[in-house]
C-alpha cells in the first residue's frame, strides 16, 4: 500500500481497498463488498448521528464499490448531506458522489440543487467551483432548468474570479448541449464574445469552447467572434515560445487554444473584412511555414502539439476552400506526412487528404500522391491505416485514374481484412460504374468482385450489374459470354450463379450461335449448379429455365422434364413448387406467341441513383461519401426516390353542403399551389360567388385584400367570412386572435352584382406548413351556403431575395451540408420545360435567381432569406432539369430542416 502523499488519508478506505485487492477470487471480492455494504448500511441507519468524517469515509467507500462495477442503492441522502458541510473535503466527496451516481430521484434533485444554489451564492470561489463542476458533470435537464439562468450571470460578472469564469463557461456549454432550449441567448452573449480578449489564457481557452458550440447554432449572434479569434490566434502564432509561460507546451505556444480558435473559425465562411482575412491568411501561412522548420525538441509531445495545430489549420483551409495557394500547400504538407515514420501522422494525413480531394482546387494535387497511397494499402501494418488509404483512393478517383485504382482495390481485396471487405466491394462497384467508359470493363470488374469476395457482395451490387446490362444493349452479348465462361469454374460463388442465371435467361440467345455455348450447353451448365444453391437462387434459375423455353424451343422438352420431376413439382418449398407448377403449365398450354409476350426480354429499368451508393452512405454516414463528382455529377434521376410532396389538404376544408347545392360548386380551391409563385388572382369561383385576392408581403409581414363578388342578381344575406386557423397555426401566423385577422368586418348583406372587400394582416412568427382556412357562410334565396377555401399563405411568401456571387453561393452551400439541412426531390415535369417560365417561377417564388452561378448553364440556382418574427433562415436552392427524361431534381438547403422540407414541397409543385 503506497503512502498517501498529500492531504488526508482515509485510513479505513485504504484498508478496504487493500482488502479488495487481496481477494483471490470474484466470489471473495463480492463477499467482502457485501460485508462492507452491510456495515455501512447499519452505520447509516444507526441511532448515533455520524460525524462528517465518517460520513465522508463511508460515502467514499460506496463510491469505490460503485466504480468497481457494483450497484449502489443507498447512501445518496448521506452524500447530499455532505454537500452542505462547511468542510471542504466533505463537500468535495459529496459532490463527487453526486456527479458519478446521479439519480433522477426528484426529491433528491431538489435538495442537491438547493445545496448548489447555496454554494453558487457563497462567493467562495472554491465552493463555487465545486458547484459548477457538479452541474457540468451531471448536466441533467433538471439542473439546466435550475441554473441555466444563473450560470451566464456568473460568467460575465465583473468580479468573478478567473477560475470560476472558466468553470462557468464550460458548465454553460454542457447545459447548452443537453438542453439548448433552456439556455436563452441574451445580453450576456456579446460579453462572452469579449472573453476572447481576456488577459487570462485559461479563461480564453474555456470561453472559446463555449463560443464555438453556441456559434454553430447561432452564427449571427456570434459573428463578431471571428475578428477577435483571428487577432488572438495571430498573437499566439507570432509569439516566441517563452512568451506565454505556462501556456507554452513543449515549445509550442498555447496549442489547445490555437486548435480551439481554428475550430471556432470553421463555423464561419472566410472573413469578409479584407484586413481580417489578410491577417488570418498570414496566420495560416505562418503555421504552414513552421511545419518546415526543424523541431525545437525531439519529444513526441512537441511534434504532436505542433502538428495538432497544423492539422486544424489545414481543416480550416479546406473548410474555406477559397485559397488555391493554401490548399496546394496543405496538400504538399500532407504529402510529406504520408511517408512519415510516425504511424499516427500517416493515418491523419490520409484522413485529411480525403477531404482535400473533394476540393476542385486541390483535387489534382492530391492525385499526384496516388502511388504513395497505393503503397500504403500494400504495406501498412495497421488495418485502420489501410482503411484510411482505401478511403483516400476512393476520394481521389476520377476518370483519369479509375482503372488503376479499381485494379489496385481488387487486388488488395484478395488479402483484405474481413472487417473492411464489404466496404471495399461497395466502393469498387461504385467506382467501376461511375467511371465506366467501356462497359465490358465494368462487367469484368463486377464479376471479379464476385469471384474474389463473393460473400461480401451484397444484393445491391448484383442487382445493379443486371440493371446496367439490361439498360445497355452494347454490353449484353459480352456479358452473356463472360458469365458463361465464369460459370465454367468448378466452384463458383452463388452470387455468380444468380447473375449468370439472370443474364443468360435474358441474353443467352446472343451466344447460342456458338456450338460451345449452345442452348443445351447453357442449360446443362446452369442446372449443374442448381442443387448446390439456396432456395432464392433456385427460384431465380427456374425463371431462367422458362425464359429458355421461349428463347430456345429446342430445349423445351428437356426443361419440361426437369420441371416435371418430383424434386420440383413436389418440392417442400412453396415458392419453388409453385414456380415449377406454373412454369410447366405455361410451357404446355401457351402458344408460341403468348409465350413470347409473357417471357419477353425485360424492359429497361428506369434510371435511378445507384442503390449501392445508398448502401455505402448508410454504412458510412452521408458525409464520407460525398466527393467532388457529387457536386458536378451527371444527373441521375431517381424515379422512386425523394419524398412525395404532401397532397394539398383539400378534404379538410370542405364544409357541409346542402343537398341541392349547385352541381358544379367546387366549394374548395385546389389548395392554393397555383398561388405559390403569384400574389394576385381569383382564388375561388362558383356560380354564385367569386373570391379574388391581392396580397403583398414584406419580410415577415403580409397584407391580403380579399374581394367577394356576388355573381347573382339576388342579395346574399348573413354573409359571414371567418378565418379558421388550425390550432398549431395560431402560434405561427399571428393575429391578436384568430378572428382579428380580418381587420375590417364585412357588411352582412352583399347586393346582387356587388363586390365587398376585406383586409387580413398576417405575421409569420415561425415557419409553418398549414395555411388558414377561410370559411364563408351566407344565405342565398332560401338556402344556406357554405364555402371553405384555403388561403394561399405559404412559407415562401416571406422570402427576401439575396444576390450573391458564385463563390459565396457555393461557400454557403457547403456550409449547409448536414443531411438534415438538405431536402431533395426528383420529379416528373408537369408542364413544358421552358427556361423563361422556370425563371419567372423561381423569381415569383420569392428567391433571387442567380445567373452564372451554376457551372452547368442549364441549371437554376436561387438564394433568399425567409423572415419570421424570431429568426431569419437563409435558403439556397438548385433546380436541375433533365430535358431528356422530362424530369427535375430540386435541392433545397436551409439552416432548418422543416423549412427545407416545406420549400421543397411547395416549389416542386410548380414545374
Amino acid at each position: 500500500m503506497p503512502a498517501v502523499s498529500k492531504g488526508d488519508g482515509m485510513r479505513g478506505l485504504a484498508v478496504f481497498i487493500s482488502d479488495i485487492r487481496n481477494c483471490k477470487s470474484k466470489e471473495a471480492e463480492i463477499k467482502r463488498i457485501n460485508k462492507e455494504l452491510a456495515n455501512i448500511r447499519s452505520k447509516f441507519k444507526g441511532d448515533k448521528a455520524l460525524d462528517g468524517y465518517s460520513k465522508k469515509k463511508y460515502v467514499c467507500k460506496l463510491l469505490f464499490i460503485f466504480l468497481l462495477g457494483h450497484d449502489i442503492d443507498f447512501g445518496h441522502m448521506e452524500a447530499v448531506n455532505l454537500l452542505s458541510s462547511n468542510r471542504y473535503t466533505e463537500k468535495q466527496i459529496g459532490y463527487l458522489f453526486i456527479s458519478v451516481l446521479v439519480n433522477s430521484n426528484s426529491e433528491l434533485i431538489r435538495l442537491i440543487n438547493n445545496a448548489i444554489k447555496n454554494d453558487l451564492a457563497s462567493r467562495n470561489p472554491t465552493f463555487m467551483g465545486l458547484a459548477l463542476h457538479c452541474i457540468a458533470n451531471v448536466g441533467s435537464r433538471e439542473m439546466a432548468e435550475a441554473f441555466a439562468g444563473e450560470v451566464p450571470k456568473i460568467l460575465v460578472a465583473g468580479d468573478t474570479m478567473d477560475s470560476v469564469k472558466q468553470s462557468a463557461a464550460l458548465c454553460l456549454l454542457r447545459l447548452y448541449r443537453t438542453s439548448p432550449d433552456l439556455v436563452p441567448m441574451g445580453d450576456w452573449t456579446s460579453r462572452v464574445v469579449h472573453l476572447l480578449n481576456d488577459q487570462h489564457l485559461g479563461v480564453v481557452t474555456a470561453a472559446t469552447s463555449l463560443i464555438t458550440t453556441l456559434a454553430q447554432k447561432n452564427p449571427e449572434e456570434f459573428k463578431t467572434s471571428v475578428s477577435l479569434a483571428v487577432s488572438r490566434l495571430s498573437r499566439i502564432v507570432t509569439s516566441a515560445s517563452t512568451d506565454l509561460q505556462d501556456y507554452t507546451y513543449y515549445f509550442v505556444p498555447a496549442p489547445w487554444l490555437s486548435v480551439k480558435l481554428l475550430r471556432l473559425l470553421q463555423c464561419y465562411p472566410p472573413p469578409e473584412d479584407p484586413a481580417v482575412r489578410g491577417r488570418l491568411t498570414e496566420c495560416l501561412e505562418t503555421i504552414l511555414n513552421k511545419a518546415q522548420e526543424p523541431p525545437k525538441s525531439k519529444k513526441v509531445q512537441h511534434s504532436n502539439a505542433k502538428n495538432a495545430v497544423l492539422f486544424e489549420a489545414i481543416s480550416l483551409i479546406i473548410h474555406h476552400d477559397s485559397e488555391p495557394n493554401l490548399l496546394v500547400r496543405a496538400c504538399n504538407q500532407l504529402g510529406q506526412f504520408l511517408q512519415h515514420r510516425e504511424t499516427n501522422l500517416r493515418y491523419l494525413a490520409l484522413e485529411s487528404m480525403c477531404t482535400l480531394a473533394s476540393s476542385e482546387f486541390s483535387h489534382e494535387a492530391v492525385k499526384t500522391h496516388i502511388d504513395t497511397v497505393i503503397n500504403a494499402l500494400k504495406t501498412e501494418r495497421d488495418v485502420s491505416v489501410r482503411q484510411r488509404a482505401v478511403d483516400l483512393l476512393y476520394a481521389m478517383c476520377d476518370r483519369s485514374n479509375a482503372q488503376q485504382i479499381v485494379a489496385e482495390m481488387l487486388s488488395y481485396l484478395e488479402t483484405a481484412d474481413y472487417s473492411i471487405r464489404e466496404e471495399i466491394v461497395l466502393k469498387v462497384a461504385i467506382l467501376a460504374e461511375k467511371y465506366a467508359v467501356d462497359y465490358a470493363w465494368y462487367v469484368d470488374t463486377i464479376l471479379n468482385l464476385i469471384r474474389i469476395a463473393g460473400d461480401y457482395v451484397s444484393e445491391e451490387v448484383w442487382y445493379r450489374v443486371i440493371q446496367i446490362v439490361i439498360n445497355r444493349d452494347d454490353v449484353q452479348g459480352y456479358a452473356a459470354k463472360t458469365v458463361f465462361e465464369a460459370l465454367q469454374a468448378p466452384a463458383c460463388h452463388e452470387n455468380l450463379v444468380k447473375v449468370g442465371g439472370y443474364i443468360l435467361g435474358e441474353f443467352g440467345n446472343l451466344i447460342a450461335g456458338d456450338p460451345r455455348s449452345s442452348p443445351l450447353v447453357q442449360f446443362n451448365l446452369l442446372h449443374s449448379k442448381f442443387h448446390l444453391c439456396s432456395v432464392p437462387t433456385r427460384a431465380l434459375l427456374l425463371s431462367t429455365y422458362i425464359k429458355f423455353v421461349n428463347l430456345f424451343p429446342e430445349v423445351k422438352t428437356t426443361i419440361q422434364d426437369v420441371l416435371r420431376s418430383d424434386s420440383q413439382l413436389k418440392n417442400a418449398d412453396v415458392e419453388l413448387q409453385q414456380r415449377a407448377v406454373e412454369y410447366l403449365r405455361l410451357s404446355t398450354v401457351a402458344s408460341t406467341d403468348i409465350l413470347a409476350t409473357v417471357l419477353e426480354e425485360m424492359p429497361p429499368f428506369p434510371e435511378r441513383e445507384s442503390s449501392i451508393l445508398a448502401k455505402l452512405k448508410k454504412k458510412k454516414g452521408p458525409s464520407t461519401v460525398t466527393d467532388l463528382e457529387d457536386t458536378k455529377r451527371e444527373r441521375s434521376v431517381d424515379v422512386n426516390g425523394g419524398p412525395e410532396p404532401a397532397p394539398a389538404s383539400t378534404s379538410a376544408a370542405v364544409g357541409p353542403l346542402p343537398a341541392f347545392a349547385f352541381p358544379n360548386n367546387p366549394c374548395i380551391s385546389a389548395g392554393g399551389f397555383e398561388f405559390v409563385c403569384k400574389n394576385n388572382g381569383v382564388l375561388f369561383e362558383n356560380q354564385l360567388l367569386q373570391i379574388g385576392l391581392k396580397s403583398e408581403f414584406r419580410q415577415n409581414l403580409g397584407r391580403m385584400f380579399i374581394f367577394y363578388g356576388n355573381k347573382t342578381s339576388t342579395q346574399f344575406l348573413n354573409f359571414t367570412p371567418t378565418l379558421i386557423c388550425p390550432d398549431d397555426l395560431q402560434s405561427h401566423i399571428l393575429g391578436p386572435s384568430p378572428h382579428r385577422h380580418i381587420t375590417k368586418p364585412v357588411d352582412p348583406t352583399v347586393d346582387g352584382g356587388a363586390q365587398v372587400q376585406q383586409v387580413v394582416n398576417i405575421e409569420c412568427v415561425s415557419d409553418f406548413t398549414e395555411a388558414p382556412v377561410l370559411n364563408i357562410q351566407f344565405r342565398y334565396g332560401g338556402t344556406f351556403q357554405n364555402v371553405s377555401v384555403q388561403l394561399p399563405i405559404t412559407l415562401n411568401k416571406f422570402f427576401q431575395p439575396t444576390e450573391m456571387s458564385s463563390q459565396d453561393f457555393f461557400q454557403r452551400w457547403k456550409q449547409l451540408s448536414n443531411p438534415q439541412q438538405e431536402v431533395q426531390n426528383i420529379f416528373k415535369a408537369k408542364h413544358p420545360m421552358d427556361t423563361e417560365i422556370t425563371k419567372a417561377k423561381i423569381i415569383g417564388f420569392g428567391s433571387a435567381l442567380l445567373e452564372e452561378v451554376d457551372p452547368n448553364p442549364a441549371n437554376f440556382v436561387g438564394a433568399g432569406i425567409i423572415h419570421t418574427k424570431t429568426t431569419q433562415i437563409g435558403c439556397l436552392l438548385r433546380l436541375e432539369p433533365n430535358l431528356q427524361a422530362q424530369m427535375y431534381r430540386l435541392t433545397l438547403r436551409t439552416s432548418k430542416e422543416t423549412v427545407s422540407q416545406r420549400l421543397c414541397e411547395l416549389l416542386s409543385q410548380q414545374f
Partner: protein, 160 residues
C-alpha cells in the same frame, strides 16, 4: 470529448469519466467493448481508431491505458496531448505516479481531472494553475482535518 477511460493491461477499469448522458448499462457495454478492442491492438499501431461514429484516441503509460472518445471534427493529436498533460498532472501531484496511486486515491484522480477537463473540454492547460487549485484544496483539507482531529480524536479512532 464524450468520455475518458483508464484501464489496466488486465482490463480493470481504474477511472471513468462520461461527458454525455448514458445509462449504466450502456456505459458497461461500451467499456467492455473498448477495453477489448484497445487491448487487442499491437504496440506499433496508430493511436487512433474509428469506433461506432466516434474516434478513439488512446495511449499506454506503463501498465495503464488512457483512452478518450472524441467526435468526428475533434482533433486527434491534441487529444493525445490532453492525455499526456493529464498524466503529467498526476505525476506531479503524486510524485512519479503509478497505477496504485490511482487505485488508492481515486477521488484525487477525479478531482485533478475536473480541474483540467470540464464538460469534455479543456478548462485549464497550465500545469501550474491546475495544481495550484488542487493544492489549495488540500490546504483547506488539512486545516479542517487538524481542527477535526483536535475535537473528536476518540470517535475517529473507533471509526477505523
Amino acid at each position: 470529448m464524450q468520455f475518458m477511460l483508464l484501464f489496466s493491461r488486465q482490463g480493470k477499469l481504474r477511472l471513468q469519466k462520461w461527458y454525455v448522458p448514458l445509462s449504466d448499462k450502456e456505459k458497461k457495454k461500451i467499456t467492455r467493448e473498448l477495453v477489448q478492442t484497445v487491448l487487442a491492438r499491437k504496440p506499433k499501431m496508430c493511436s487512433f481508431l474509428e469506433w461506432r461514429d466516434l474516434k478513439i484516441v488512446y495511449k499506454r503509460y506503463a501498465s495503464l491505458y488512457f483512452c478518450c472518445a472524441i467526435e468526428d471534427q475533434d482533433n486527434e493529436l491534441i487529444t493525445l496531448e490532453i492525455i499526456h498533460r493529464y498524466v503529467e498532472l498526476l505525476d506531479k501531484y503524486f510524485g512519479s505516479v503509478c497505477e496504485l496511486d490511482i487505485i488508492f486515491n481515486f477521488e484525487k484522480a477525479y478531482f485533478i481531472l475536473d480541474e483540467f477537463l470540464l464538460g469534455g473540454e479543456v478548462q485549464e492547460t497550465s500545469k501550474k494553475n491546475v495544481l495550484k487549485a488542487i493544492e489549495q484544496a488540500d490546504l483547506l483539507q488539512e486545516k479542517t482535518e487538524n481542527m477535526y482531529h483536535s475535537k473528536s480524536f476518540i470517535g475517529c479512532k473507533k471509526a477505523y
